[in-house]
């Protein structure tokens, strides 16, 4: 129960045009106020429960994303925000682009859109909380 009520998120901008990043920050503004659900935008992977990735994966940010994911404590959930993070979008065929976030880390929730709307991002976060609970339940079963 407590996991669900206190999602702290880490936002990483891979190679996004900043459209999705602005929308992620818009979620925290007075209009959408994601803190109503206990969401805190922390800048620290060790404190984070959710990893929000925007932009496509390329050869330069691949290691960074993997590193950030590894530093987050279990249970953790990854959200691919925007069409670039979900599949590479219009950049998928570029020589320097590897594709979506799922090329390097396991993605649990895909939030498409160009840019993804704040409503969609908040909806995605709420869905991610369900996944987080499932992961914890699965981890407890294993022990």
């Amino acid at each position: 129960m407590s996991l669900k009520k206190s999602p702290w998120l880490l936002h990483y901008d891979g190679s996004s045009c900043n459209g999705c990043d602005i929308e992620v920050l818009a979620c925290l503004t007075p209009v959408y106020d994601a803190e109503r659900f206990g969401v805190i935008n922390t800048g620290n992977p060790r404190h984070a429960d959710l990893l929000l990735l925007t932009g496509s994966i390329n050869h330069q940010n691949e290691e960074v994303v993997r590193n950030l994911y590894a530093q987050m404590p279990e249970p953790k959930v990854v959200l691919a925000v925007g069409i670039c993070a979900t599949s590479g979008g219009v950049f998928a065929d570029c020589y320097n682009v590897k594709g979506g976030a799922d090329k390097v880390v396991p993605v649990d929730v895909y939030i498409p859109g160009c840019a993804a709307r704040p409503e969609a991002i908040i909806d995605g976060i709420v869905r991610a909380l369900g996944v987080l609970e499932q992961k914890r339940a699965a981890a407890e079963k294993k022990v």
Binding site: L3, G38, G43
Partner: protein
């Protein structure tokens, strides 16, 4: 035995009161930013979650150091409310803060180091004010014990207005509020990664949050001491002081450490030192 009851009450109820205070703080902050804000019990949800997270210590030292931080802070507050010597309370309070610095220095992260160094600056800045406050309280009330001063009915605030104002200034640092939240802030994404807690997560971070609740209630007790002659006035003073701290937090940008240190020492020298000198000059008992 009589002093045991307030100490035990503090140990049991301070986390509860401190958590609620943090919840009110977050709602009031949100309203100041025209947001709805989180539920009142959000700080409790956060701490419960941190305890349920996986093991994330980066070395074997962090966890015991964070635990010591909690134990010594609770001890400082319990000593204070039990009527212990105020100088000893301040000493234990500082030791508690140093454990947090040690926990941050034990990791290899440069961000953690920057946070720890800034925390040391905060301790350095705040210490003279606390010690002068203790000396001034002894000069006026003739005792260094919370219970004795409260029972004597001495109106500290009328004799020590400068010391009180200086203490409120220093409180901004200790409550981790802007403009002096150099090493750690509760607000989103404001520091160099996450300041002093960069490498602390899970249960270690939960201990630090709990410690902060103990600390806040102790500091509010210190504010109350100046108005201890009247219970309603004391509680009103505590509420108003905390509100002003939240207001300052939401209306100020963080200052550089040089300004934080020099302004605090300046204010301490002028207000608290001046107040103390005036007491001696006027030959007041």
């Amino acid at each position: 035995m009589e002093s045991l009851i307030p100490a035990l009450t503090y140990l049991l109820l301070a986390p509860l009161a401190g958590g609620l205070l943090a919840g009110v703080d977050r709602i009031v902050s949100a309203r100041m930013q025209r947001r709805v804000g989180p539920p009142l019990l959000q700080p409790f949800y956060d701490v419960a979650k941190l305890f349920s997270k996986g093991d994330v210590e980066v070395n074997g030292l962090q966890y015991p150091l964070a635990l010591c931080h909690l134990v010594f802070m609770a001890l400082a507050g319990a000593l204070f409310f039990a009527g212990g010597d105020l100088l000893l309370v301040i000493f234990v309070f500082t030791v508690a803060a140093l454990f947090l610095v040690a926990a941050a220095f034990s990791s290899a992260s440069p961000y953690s180091f920057v946070g720890a160094e800034r925390e040391l600056i905060i301790i350095l800045a705040a210490e003279p004010a606390l010690l002068i406050a203790a000396a001034a309280i002894y000069k006026v009330a003739g005792s260094l014990s919370f219970l004795a001063v409260a029972a004597s009915g001495t109106a500290l605030i009328t004799r020590l207005p400068g010391v009180f104002l200086c203490l409120v200034y220093v409180l901004t640092m200790k409550l981790r509020k802007s403009p002096f939240d150099l090493s750690y802030s509760h607000h989103a994404h404001q520091e160099i990664v996450k300041g002093i807690t960069t490498d602390l997560g899970g249960r270690s971070l939960a201990f630090i949050e709990l410690t902060h609740w103990y600390e806040n209630i102790f500091l509010m007790g210190l504010v109350y001491l100046f108005f201890a002659f009247s219970l309603p006035l004391g509680l009103a003073a505590v509420a108003l002081t905390y509100f002003l701290e939240v207001l300052a937090d939401n209306t100020n940008a963080r200052v550089r450490w040089q300004l934080a240190l020099s302004s605090t020492w300046g204010i301490t020298l002028l207000l608290a030192g001046g107040n103390l000198l005036a007491l001696y000059a006027l030959g007041a008992k």
